[in-house]
Amino acid sequence: MESPVIRVFLTRLTAGFLCLLLSLGFVVLLLDAGRHRAQTIPTQMEEPYTARSVAETGSINVVTAILMDYRAFDTLGEATVIFASVAVAAAILGKPGSPSNRTMGLLSRRQLSALLPLFFIFPLFVIFHGHLSPGGGFQGGVSLAVLVILIHVAFGDRFGEEVIPHRILALSEYGAAIGLVGIGFVGIFQGSAYLANVAAGFPRGTAGTLASGGVIPLLNLLVGMKVAAGLSSIYVHLAGHEAENVPEKRR
């Protein structure tokens, strides 16, 4: 007779084995694809971005140049996915309920109140220097959201709600989102295409300085705002939800 423990173990073993097999096949196939490309595609197709991005966009960070200029439409789509995720979380979890007021200990709170302003510098640097150094709107926005979550965790949800009301988070998310879509229209009004950068007359600036890259720093800022506000309001919804649905255990 098989015991349930053994059966569960065997099921997991089979599942794990299948997953391993699948990922192996995946890797082999990708390596094959790479080999095929090396044989057939001439090298000038190889790197369409690196050689030209500084001259064309004014951003010395090639990744940001791709994300915010060449393929900015994808970034708009991704930012919209985050927006939709926030709306979905809100739709499923409902209104942020009665927040818990658990806080960290006194020492942690004192320490954090001194350190938080310093922590604030890093995400801003990541956002504003997105076209110069690794980073950008998404990464800086996530770091900002972590700060909001830290305030909630360390000082309690009620204090967090007082300092950064949920309504403000929602409004800044919607505002940044509308700004992001709206900036694209500048390209159309300038006689160029949607989300055009230098082609729409945005100044390219001196590559390597803060004021360069045309519209890229502005896009980084808006994406950062949107991501920060969106992710922190997902947290606010989750935090309120737990307090709402488990009242018996609390009392």
Binding site: F26, L29, L30, D32, A33, G34, H36, R37, T40, I41, M45, E46, P48, Y49, R52, D69, Y70, R71, A72, F73, D74, L76, G77, E78, T80, V81, F83, A84, S85, A87, V88, A90, A91, I92, L93, G94, K95, R167, A170, L171, Y174, G175, A177, I178, V181, G182, G184, F185, G187, I188, S192, A193, Y194, L195, A196, N197, A199, A200
Partner: protein
């Protein structure tokens, strides 16, 4: 440069943000804002579709970066046909969903989510870039999960989770296919991939094709992968189920066809895949109809019927791929005809069913006995749409099934189509007899207090049902439109040409 290809995506995205903003600042104007956004989006869609149908393909380079560095969008006559369906869809769903004061968090967010869902579907339809397509598919998935998983509806959280798992597998497979094609060809622009596709090693091409078929097969409910659909539609409720089945599903069919014909060049490189699709189509018809016949729940019955009708579309598609050449145009046109008809019929069925279910507060067929006498407008629309979906001449549903059958080269698919028609006559007829029973129970439970506007809703479903019936008698006009759309898929000259010459900077 004509900006319509990008506007059909950007206007509803901006609209969704505006709806959320209006909902936070002035909640009373939310429904008005949603209706305005839907109207603006539908107008743009019709304009883009008109240009795509009448002129050469509209090509757009976002940010004035041409492929392979930038993202190209494209509207040709094939995508124009689906843009038309989306125009009907967004406007009709906004009209049907005008609420009277439901202030739950789900109702507040759902207006923005529907606008985003239609934005994502428009994005899938216009994009000519594989990775951009993946992003819009993901956006559509996220929005549909939010629409499905309503709070405080028993089973909806589980259904949302099952749908999420199915969508995750589907998304991973699509990403895998895009990755293989990108690594092998060095580009994600569809025209450039299409150029390189014939030279791809057979196993790479085959794996990418298989991954794409399974990925979109999950989305459209090909039979082994259909498990999530009835449960999801049931949990989502009729209003959302209509949006998912009548419009969301069709755009995923579009994506599958576009990917098979254009970047993968399957009719030339891998014609065997269409024989597989032919078998899957027949399995879908038989499974969907038989499951619908034994189903006791109206919403689940309609969901299984959707699975069956994907089969009819696939039969047309498979015939097109197997014939090849210019004869394929007729088969594709037949598949498109059935796609359009199913959009009209299924949205009319779901939305008129909404009123019936709403009045009796139950979606079990046995609980709906005699309900027809309480909502005559809805049952008329339901019956007209049911006549069309069964395939009674001279409705549009009959004409589209007839064309699909005419396109077949073998006897078996035709027999399957006939069998499916008979089975669907049984289960729709049975529902009609139960709903019009003369001895209704003395008292129905009081209807749910949060009512959508019944008269407006009835007018919308009647219009959709009448359109589905009338299309059969106007098949000469419909056919020229369909043939033009099918040419867009089969002859890709006006798509490949301008994309490769390059425009802009």
């Amino acid at each position: 440069m004509n900006h319509l290809p990008v506007l059909v995506v950007v206007i509803p995205v901006a609209g969704a943000f505006l709806i959320s903003l209006v909902d936070t600042v002035r909640p009373a104007f939310k429904s008005t804002a949603a209706l305005l956004v839907a109207t603006a989006h539908s107008t743009t869609l019709v304009a883009a579709a008109y240009r795509g149908m009448t002129g050469p393909a509209l090509l757009y380079s976002v940010g004035e970066w041409i492929a392979p560095v930038g993202i190209s969008l494209m509207v040709d006559s094939f995508s124009a046909f689906f843009l038309l369906l989306l125009a009907i869809g967004h406007l009709a769903s906004a009209l049907v969903r005008i609420e009277s004061g439901d202030r739950s968090e789900w109702a507040r967010k759902s207006a923005a989510l529907i606008a985003l869902f239609f934005a994502a579907l428009s994005g899938i339809t216009v994009t000519a870039d594989l990775f951009n397509l993946f992003i819009f598919v993901e956006l559509a998935t996220v929005c549909s999960i939010g629409l499905i998983a309503r709070k405080r509806h028993p089973g909806s959280a589980v259904a949302g989770f099952v749908a999420l798992m199915a969508a995750t597998i589907s998304g991973a497979l699509l990403l895998f296919a895009v990755l293989v094609l990108y690594v092998a060809t060095g580009t994600v622009a569809m025209p450039l991939v299409a150029q390189a596709a014939p030279d791809l090693p057979a196993h790479l091409h085959g794996m990418a094709t298989a991954a794409i078929i399974v990925s979109f097969g999950i989305k459209i409910g090909l039979v082994p992968m259909h498990f999530w659909q009835p449960r999801t539609y049931h949990a989502a409720g009729t209003t959302v189920a209509a949006i998912l089945s009548a419009f969301g599903l069709k755009i995923h069919v579009y994506a599958l066809l576009r990917l098979l014909w254009f970047p993968l060049q399957a009719p030339v490189v891998l014609p065997g895949v269409y024989s597989i699709l032919l078998v899957m189509g027949m399995v879908n018809i038989l499974t969907g109809h038989s499951m619908a016949m034994i189903e006791r729940n109206l919403v689940r019955m309609l969901a299984f019927s959707s699975i069956a009708h994907v089969g009819y579309i696939l039969l047309g598609v498979a015939a097109a791929g197997r014939i090849g050449g210019s004869a394929a145009v007729y088969a594709v046109a037949a598949a498109l005809f059935h796609t359009g008809m199913h959009t009209l019929m299924k949205s009319a069925l779901f939305w008129s069913g909404h009123r019936l279910i709403h009045l009796s507060r139950s979606s079990r067929i046995m609980d709906l006995g005699g309900i027809a006498w309480r909502a005559p407008g809805s049952i008329i629309a339901f019956s007209l749409a049911a006549l069309a979906i069964i395939g009674i001449p001279p409705t549009g549903g009959f004409a589209s099934k007839w064309f699909v059958a005419m396109a077949q080269q073998a006897l078996l698919p035709v027999l399957v189509i006939g069998a499916g028609t008979v089975i669907s006559l049984v289960y729709y007829g049975r529902f009609f007899l139960i709903a019009t029973r003369r001895d209704p129970p003395d008292s129905f439970p009081a209807p749910h207090p949060l009512s959508l506007r019944p008269r407006l809703q009835t007018a919308v479903v009647l219009a959709l049902a009448v359109a589905a019936v009338m299309a059969g008698t106007r098949d000469v006009q419909v056919r020229s439109l369909l043939l033009r759309a099918a040419e867009g898929l089969v002859d890709q000259a006006d798509f490949v040409g301008p994309a490769l010459i390059g425009r802009g900077r």
